[in-house]
């Protein structure tokens, strides 16, 4: 095989891995948007918050340590214990569910039947609040997140491909794990929404509130549930990205990666989010690889958006979005 083709294949695989993560973040958006019509700007910050909380719990950090110390003049920072990552993840999930409940009870319950733009504004507010709140709670320094996922080059793939083509593919273990976990999560979400009572209820609420009420579905319960699921998705995304590049403010910017995915896949489609994520992931890596050198590189920053714009022009409802039909 010629070298160029081998490099290309490697880039393609890496693109797929990245794409799965984009898809995961986009899924969080889609879930909430479908069920409640809210475009949740805070999805990225939720991932950051989840990752911060996870690190904090694992390290036995005292929440609000800075604030407590400033007010009471104490010097507490750590409880002095470390919690195993598995337990910490479950605890963090509990925190995300609580957060979902608080968000629903304090904010969105009072905004039922408001204009979408109002709801959107509320999520912007929520995003900035959570960003600040996360800082106060856990401190604003960059943290390292290690939940025990193997990192570094996968030796097996390297060996096998070296043996076969004379060129070892570099594929990060973390990416592989992330892709596998994200895939499982996506399958679980689809099964959940298609085949469980709560999933059916969720789809019902997404479709028509009044009708959902009339068959005995509590809207409040479903919304808390949806925010919890979105929180869970955010947690998984936060773990993956956090493990890769540390837990820091920039993690919340993954939301910006999800936007083009949504434009591509449609805001209401779960398969759209998945396929869109993969297209963007592979697309931007391949574009950088093939065209990047000609234009001086750094195409990854804007490629996804340009692709999304093209889609907006030719297929505004996205790949899988419901067709926008205007009848005369």
């Amino acid at each position: 095989m010629p070298d160029q083709l081998l490099f290309g294949t490697e880039v393609f695989l890496n693109g797929l891995m990245a794409g799965v993560l984009y898809a995961l973040v986009a899924l969080g958006f889609v879930l909430i948007y479908k069920a409640s019509g809210i475009f949740n700007y805070a999805q990225g910050v939720m991932a950051l918050f989840a990752a911060l909380t996870l690190v904090g719990i694992m390290d036995g950090q005292v929440p609000f340590a800075h604030l407590i110390n400033a007010v009471f003049g104490t010097e507490v920072h750590h409880f002095g214990w470390n919690i195993p990552s598995f337990l910490a993840i479950i605890l963090t999930m509990g925190v995300m569910v609580a957060l979902a409940w608080i968000v629903q009870q304090l904010i969105f319950r009072h905004l039922v039947n408001q204009e979408p733009i109002i709801l959107f504004m509320a999520t912007i507010g929520l995003a900035y609040f959570m960003e600040g709140f996360g800082d106060i709670m856990w401190g604003s320094d960059i943290k390292k997140l290690d939940v025990g996922i193997p990192q570094g080059m996968n030796a097996l793939i390297d060996e096998v491909t070296y043996g076969a083509f004379g060129y070892g593919f570099f594929i990060d273990n973390l990416d592989i794990v992330a892709a596998v976990i994200a895939t499982i999560l996506v399958i679980l979400l689809v099964l959940f929404s298609q085949y469980t009572k709560q999933g059916r209820a969720m789809r019902a609420v997404a479709d028509d509130h009044q009708a959902a009420l009339s068959v005995g579905i509590s809207l409040n319960f479903i919304w808390v549930m949806v925010w919890s699921v979105a929180g869970f998705v955010a947690l998984v995304a936060g773990i993956m990205w956090g493990a890769k590049s540390g837990v820091q403010f920039s993690l919340s910017l993954i939301a910006l990666k999800a936007l083009p995915v949504l434009m591509l896949g449609g805001f209401t489609s779960i398969p759209g989010a998945i396929v869109g994520g993969l297209i963007i992931g592979v697309g931007e890596k391949m574009f950088e690889f093939l065209i990047g050198p000609m234009v001086g590189g750094a195409t990854e920053n804007w490629f996804a958006y340009v692709l999304a714009l093209l889609f907006l022009v030719f297929r505004p409802q996205g790949l899988f979005g419901e067709k926008i039909i205007e009848r005369v």
């Binding site: 009572k197 479709d207 028509d208 009339s214 005995g216 509590s218």
Partner: protein, 273 residues
Amino acid sequence: MSENKNEGYVTADGRKIGGTLMEMKNITLRFGGVKAITDISFDIKEGEIRAIIGPNGAGKSSMLNVISGFYVPQEGEVWYKGARRPSMKPYEVARQGIARTFQNIALFEGMTVLDNVMTGRLNHMKANMAQQAIWKGAAEKEEVANREVVEKVIDFLEIQSIRKTPVARLPYGLKKRVELARALAAEPSLLLLDEPMAGMNVEEKEDMSRFILDVNDEFGTTIALIEHDMGVVMDLSDRVVVMDYGKKIGDGTPDEVRNNQDVIDAYLGVSHD
């Protein structure tokens, strides 16, 4: 509730009507300063078809929304199955066995007919998340049992041919029927129909009347309906409440109501030939 009021009666065509299922006592509903319903009382007995009629703006729909929990009255009491019902959310009312349809049709447009009707069974699904997750035992049995009920309803309402059709693609008349199917799938103790024949042509109206009578006959379901098509109401119902400007002006069998002078003045005299 006095004793004699709770007794049933026998209809003209020989059906036995049971005791009081639901009683509205002195209901008053206001929107801001506007009174939609003023001090209305009536009862619904088990097994009967009860109609609420009145000209546009008489407060019929508001009344139905009070029964189904979508509106909370400022005054008055709602008694259901012999107990006073506390203030409730619509979904809690639904869980008590009160199913309803809507005048403007509220279906899950993105789902198929089958999925829509299946949502009517949500309150009958008891399996927990763990059971559902492994799809074994209770969950599987429950799904099959619920599907059976749903298929019976589909057969009953003769919508087999559209089982897998997305609701959005159906014509209006069929949507109304699917909505009825969803309500029936819940096996309700009380079925509320909000203008079940609004916007239908003569043939569709006849079909719907037949379905309503058959539901009552086959399943013994108590039905309360709102309708402004007088002919339909008089043929269908056992007893009729007449409302006008939010007040009750008549209550009785269709014949009694037809001969009630207030009713004639307010409504029948003008629109009924």
